[in-house]
């Protein structure tokens, strides 16, 4: 089991550690609900160093990545980040990733921890002349500073004009209290915030400095538990739940990240066919009307038939309701549609609602 450089700090802070994607990670410190609310109302600091990083460069790098992923990265300038699914020929999702354009022909792919090895293998299997591929995960630790107070906290430690870094933009050489970092305005919580990439030998100091700087604003460490409930309320997909090798990005409602007209890419013909014929399954949000919590894998019924399954379900700390995301037959995706979720062999009533469940003001 792998450990991030902050492992001992997590233990000292009283974190509960769990195995996640081959890593021992903090799931919570004081409590998921408290950390969740802290991020919504002030700010939270997450150690997400388990994420994988793959560097692709070379004079054919851009064309190569264009064939690997569904989104069009040719329009992104250096300093921009692009979210994209990466598909198999059947249109299923190998992984979903964030692509940082470091230069004309240099890209950093940030991938899910559990998929890092699979992705690296997949990418190298499709390698073409003129590209160099390297798993550089060991060169990066990653902190996510998330919440409405994120900018004012980070400002205390840097002269960089952070307000100029817009959403999904980054700067590769930001000094934070003397530590060189890559700062990206992005995140996985539905709040404003930054993802900060730093050398593993500097991350302990950066973690301490940030927590110290954010004391007044109420900055607290937050674990993977809160990260999951936060991303879920914002209806951000999680690989292995809303996305998998058997679920296409069109079914998952990620059509805006699939650019069928950008030229050839892996999965294009399968996705184009789905686009023409219409998808058979759709990801929907729902709210329980009966008492009960939907959970990943529970069956969904309507009109007496099984119509799908829950991809993520939870109590929503912000809405104070029991809500879920589910993949259902396309005919049942309209807002207001009544469905049932099988919770411990009882069919409990729920209703399809609009997503995201939560959107910041």
């Amino acid at each position: 089991m792998k450990k991030t450089p902050l492992y001992d700090r997590h233990l000292k802070l009283g974190a509960k550690m769990i195995e996640f994607g081959g890593w021992m990670m903090p799931v919570q410190y004081e409590g998921i609900l408290e950390e969740h609310e802290g991020v919504r109302n002030a700010a939270g600091l997450f150690d997400v160093s388990h994420m994988g990083e793959i560097l692709i460069r070379g004079h054919e790098a851009l064309q190569f990545i264009q064939k690997l992923v569904t989104n069009d990265i040719s329009k992104a300038a250096a300093g921009q980040a692009v979210y994209s699914p990466m598909c198999n020929p059947e249109g299923g999702v190998v992984d979903d990733l964030l692509i940082y354009r470091l230069g004309e022909q240099e890209f950093l792919l940030v991938v899910n921890a559990a998929n890092t090895e699979k992705d690296y293998r997949w990418i190298t299997e499709h390698k073409e002349a003129g590209v160099h591929i390297e798993d550089v995960s060991y060169q990066y630790s990653l902190l996510a500073l998330q919440g409405p107070k994120a900018e004012s906290i980070l400002k205390k430690l840097t002269d960089e004009p952070l307000e100029e870094i817009r959403y999904y933009r980054f700067r590769p050489d930001v000094e934070i209290n003397g530590i060189k970092t890559l700062v990206s305005r992005s995140g996985y919580t539905g709040e404003d915030g930054f993802e900060i990439y730093v050398s593993p030998d500097k991350v302990e100091k950066l973690w301490d400095d940030l927590l110290e700087a954010g004391k007044e604003e109420g900055l607290k460490p937050a674990g993977l538990g809160a990260r999951d409930t936060l991303r879920f309320e914002a209806a951000l997909p999680l690989y292995g739940h809303e996305l998998s090798e058997e679920i296409s990005p069109l079914e998952a409602g990620l059509g805006r990240f699939v650019k069928l007209n950008k030229g050839e890419f892996i999965g294009r013909s399968a996705l184009a066919a789905q686009d023409v014929q219409g998808v058979k399954r759709k990801l929907v949000g729902f709210e329980m009307t009966d008492r009960g919590i939907p959970r990943h894998g529970y069956d969904i019924y309507a009109d007496g038939d099984k119509i799908g399954f829950v991809t993520t379900g939870s109590y929503s700390p912000t809405l104070r309701k029991n809500i879920g995301l589910g993949l259902v037959k396309a005919g049942y995706s309209e807002t207001g549609t009544e469905i049932q979720v099988a919770v411990r062999n009882k069919n409990l009533k729920a209703v399809v609602v609009k997503t995201p469940f939560y959107k910041r003001k």
Partner: protein, 127 residues
């Protein structure tokens, strides 16, 4: 705070506090701490007949649902409706937050459960 002398514990981290034939059942401090923030409790039906080891109810934290087992055999005669609206009470005061009252079939079943000192040792070994 309850007097821990009156409590008996199962290896699945439930507690029982008996008043004659009436047994109050809840989950231990160790259990609530391991589960984290509790956001939902499914109570049994009154009148349900249970054997020791049967599912008494379900407690759900933010992350997961966990079955609660009855450490004793008997009939459910009362459930704690307060927990339906305030499941967090289990986190705040686990030994006051009984889930159900079971009328015992056989009081001698209590002798097979751990007392508080043995239970504390048991938790230390599990940790």
């Amino acid at each position: 705070m309850a007097d821990m002398k009156d409590f008996r514990f199962s290896r699945e981290h439930e507690w029982v506090r008996a008043e004659g034939k009436k047994a109050y059942i809840g989950i231990s401090d160790y259990a609530q701490n391991a589960l984290g923030d509790i956001v939902f409790v499914e109570l049994p039906e009154t009148g349900a007949k249970l054997s020791a080891g049967d599912v008494l109810g379900v407690v759900e934290s933010v992350k997961a649902a966990s079955d609660i087992y009855s450490p004793v055999s008997g009939t459910v005669i009362e459930t704690n409706q307060e927990l339906a609206d305030a499941p967090e009470k289990i986190n705040e005061a686990p030994y006051d937050s009984w889930i159900a009252v079971v009328e015992l079939d056989d009081e001698s079943e209590l002798d097979e459960l751990m007392d508080f000192d043995d239970y504390e040792k048991f938790c230390k070994e599990e940790a």
